[in-house]
Symmetry: C3
Subunit: 396 residues, 3 copies
């Protein structure tokens, strides 16, 4: 339990430094901010488990913009808004009307009236999602500064082309709870590896989010993928820097087996080559359907060369005690269940399944923590007051 008087006093003493700011990439946040968010998310979950209300707003809106499909994160955003008392609404933006420049600036201001937070998913077009979020961020900054807005809504990245902070933070909460706190990550070997999938075009933001965040706490991080599946420079540099600063390490391995050897946790997950994603962006823009079909065919053929990158029982046997924690953002491509040759074998997934649900269960609380941290001046004290007040979530 994370809501002991000591723990709550500690939480109330941390200033995450996020008031009136955004959560766009975890590597842009301080260690203190990350520690606060993990601590806050777990505490909010504990309060919710006890039926204690975590409402922080009497009224207020949380708005989301999804430029890609989403079931899990869409629900988690709504649930996170609801946890703190915000009504959520989704802006319907047809993909043909991806605004630019003036349109983005103006629309951002118009949808910010009465809005406490804007969650955005824009992960499809490599080189664009993060840039779009920054454009919206500048627009609400200006509108607030110029008194067109009464409050400055926080932007929450619900997956960009660079990072997937609500996912990575959920993974971190899960590991923190599993290993007795963030200190428990120190010295743990965590393998982030590519895995085969019979699909193409999966975003790079999940592995990038993982290396950019899990490198902060002294873990021995290992990244492995076939040639051609390199990650973007920005999260790679962040991972190197964080590993050095935290006394951990960030290494690359040539195979899933090498990465798994002695690992405490493994995260086998498919992603697309950045070159393919960039070309795909260009072709989607140009509307070149035939070339897109050719690209997909070639990308799948490239994937098929690496079918052995599957997390099966033999590879799991190489991990520490043969029993590493299996992480996944879901849905996983499961061999013999959801596809013929996937990221993970049926047997390995069956054992880990319910644990991946528990991993996912942090996301609404991570989002709630981000909402409180960005919208309240003293979010830790607010959570401590919720814990003290013990107002029931069920009021009848």
């Amino acid at each position: 339990m994370n809501d002991t008087p000591d723990s709550l006093a500690q939480l109330a003493s941390i200033d995450p430094g996020l008031f009136d700011r955004d959560v766009l990439a975890t590597w842009g946040l301080s260690d203190q901010a990350i520690r606060f968010l993990v601590h806050a998310a777990i505490t909010l979950q504990d309060l919710a488990r006890q039926g204690i209300s975590t409402r922080a707003f009497d009224t207020g809106l949380g708005l989301s913009i999804f430029r890609d499909q989403s079931t899990r994160t869409r629900h988690a955003f709504r649930a996170g808004c609801d946890l703190v008392g915000l009504a959520s609404e989704e802006m319907d933006e047809s993909s043909s009307q991806r605004g630019h420049g003036e349109t983005v600036r103006e629309t951002a201001a118009m949808i910010a009236f009465g809005t406490e937070a804007i969650g955005i998913r824009d992960d499809i077009f490599l080189g664009e999602g993060h840039a779009f979020m920054q454009e919206v961020s500048s627009a609400v900054d200006e509108a607030y500064r110029e008194k067109a807005l009464l409050a400055r809504p926080a932007l929450i990245n619900l997956q960009s082309d660079l990072d997937h902070p609500t996912q990575a933070m959920s993974d971190l909460c899960h590991l923190s709870r599993t290993w007795g706190g963030l200190e428990g990550l120190k010295g743990k070997k965590i393998a982030i590896t590519w895995a085969h999938s019979p699909s193409y075009g999966k975003p790079l933001s999940v592995p990038q989010g993982s290396i950019g965040l899990l490198s902060r706490f002294g873990a021995e991080l290992v990244l492995a993928h076939p040639e051609g599946y390199e990650l973007e420079a920005e999260p790679m540099e962040a991972a190197r820097r964080f590993a050095a600063e935290s006394g951990g390490s960030f290494k690359q391995a040539a195979s899933m087996e090498e990465a798994f050897a002695g690992a405490d946790a493994v995260y086998p997950k498919s992603w697309a080559p950045a070159a393919v994603m960039r070309e795909r962006t260009r072709l989607l823009r140009a509307g070149e359907k035939a070339a897109l079909a050719d690209l997909e065919k070639a990308a799948l053929a490239q994937n098929a060369k690496h079918m052995s990158w599957e997390c099966d029982e033999a590879k799991m046997a190489l991990t520490k005690g043969g029993n590493a924690h299996y992480l996944h953002c879901l849905p996983a491509d499961i061999t013999g269940v959801s596809c013929k040759n996937g990221e993970v074998s049926k047997e390995v997934f069956a054992k880990a399944r319910l644990d991946t649900y528990r991993e996912a269960a942090y996301k609404p609380f991570v989002i709630a923590a981000m909402l409180l941290a960005t919208r309240l001046q003293d979010p830790g004290a607010a959570i401590a007051r919720m814990a003290a007040k013990k107002a029931p979530r069920r009021v009848a």
Copy 2:
């Protein structure tokens, strides 16, 4: 008025036995549960009429999944959630992605975080809707048992291939209010009959819901339809059993006239032959458009043979005092208004119209009652406390 001290004390004394359970088919519920829900729905409506707040949740989500079009029940679910303080959200599930097996199990868990209730409409494919709801129910059971969920959301059937409990319960509330309580149903003759419609493919769940529920309270239930329009075995057996247990009867008649003779209430409503619905399911699955068009043509030709099954003034004259209560779930096919030859004549519908609105007006309160009964340990006491507290719904 149903909120007298006596009535409220009585309500508080009933345990519906629905805590942490679902409402999938009324024939799976105890008489006590049904009595509670009717009593609770009518009481909640009385409280709302007096402007008294019926909020039971400070925060919390009610999620809906509509696998078929809906205007009335969709709004009623939102209004019912709102009455008890839940924010509602709708999961957008494209029809091409009707999940199965692993996908359903996992998605159900993922959308259950922070969710108090999941309302599902899945009525198109005979043999599948109820099964899907059971799949979701098992999934949330498991996720809750395994501590991936903090609470177990209740499933509310918003119309399946078998039953339409929120509709049937609204009809029952209406009859109960009209006849001075559920005891008033004893000995009343209620005619549930097929009626002609210039459409095909109307679900069987409305008449099935009616016979499966209105048979419980000692009424003389009569079912009539042309040959080939038989209802499914499960609700037919439930109706026979309930009629025997409650001292009423459940008989079949060969014509609308025979069914209407001396009836206290009539429910003339079109539905499709089960064989047509099953073949339709198969063809929809197989994507056989030409065969579907043929099936529709044949089904409409079959309907057209029974155009005389219209509820007109001549047939209404056969009912008790020529003045039976006309029931309908709306929208009705009205001859000369919404179609050439429909379920009901213009004259009969004109007289009954506003009464069908009042019948429909119970649905949000029925849903609110289901939410309280499935999510609170002592829902009757909670309603009694609302009545005592008299917190206004308008707070400014």
Copy 3:
């Protein structure tokens, strides 16, 4: 600030006379109602700026129906509902199912259960939007009178073919704040002019809403447009009447230049000729795509003859002090930014941009004021109580 004790006492003393009524066209409302709404909207904005809760409903729904695209007003309706504590939902009505007669009457009653307000946008088909809203209004009147509804939801026009009251009222709030109250409009010259746009089919409701409202307070209103772009008779007559009654004037000018000369505020905005809109309605109904394309071509050619109707720096120099307030409902067609030849030059818009955001910022509060005025018996006293209570919007 508008929330001084004097100002609040004054607000509490005005009876807008809107309880259980609708807001369909501002020219149907009394001067007192208009004064109340402006005063209330500005006061609500002041309270929100101070972080004071403006919640008036513990639970309740605000439902919207959009028969045309909307980003700004859609968000403003949700934000306005949220400000007073209503959950908002949108009814999804496919454009192919524009109901008539019985269907509208019945559906209106069904979606009114538990609903405090229904916001409708129906601006595309000239001659139909306002009529549809009146149909819905009659339907909820009847259902409430006949006790099928517990409360009568208010209809809020979110843009019809005739008026755009939430926009016009936002503009009026902006001018009132700018000029020190509604009295400040007296004697001010306001130019409402057509402007060129490379699009066709823009609704007439914005200029009609402007002349029908801004004529009430003694301003010198001037309308200018090329021949063929005449506005509808109803708002023109209202403007003439209000100008006469209020001691102002309502004149027409032959050019943008003439209208701008000495103006205190200008509102240059494109709209379509009524004849084109009527023909378009007929062709859309008939599904005549080729004829529609021809109509568009002809309409754009007609527009192109008036490309000089652009609000540029030279024309702005003609206004009072060369510095008139520029009004626009957004988005504007900006020359060299969003199109080649638009309503306004890049330079003029750049100067006015942030002020148009502030103009738009009133809309959620205008809607909140309309909700309170139509749904509370004594809305001014309710707002005064909010101001006295100072309940924080952030509760944690």
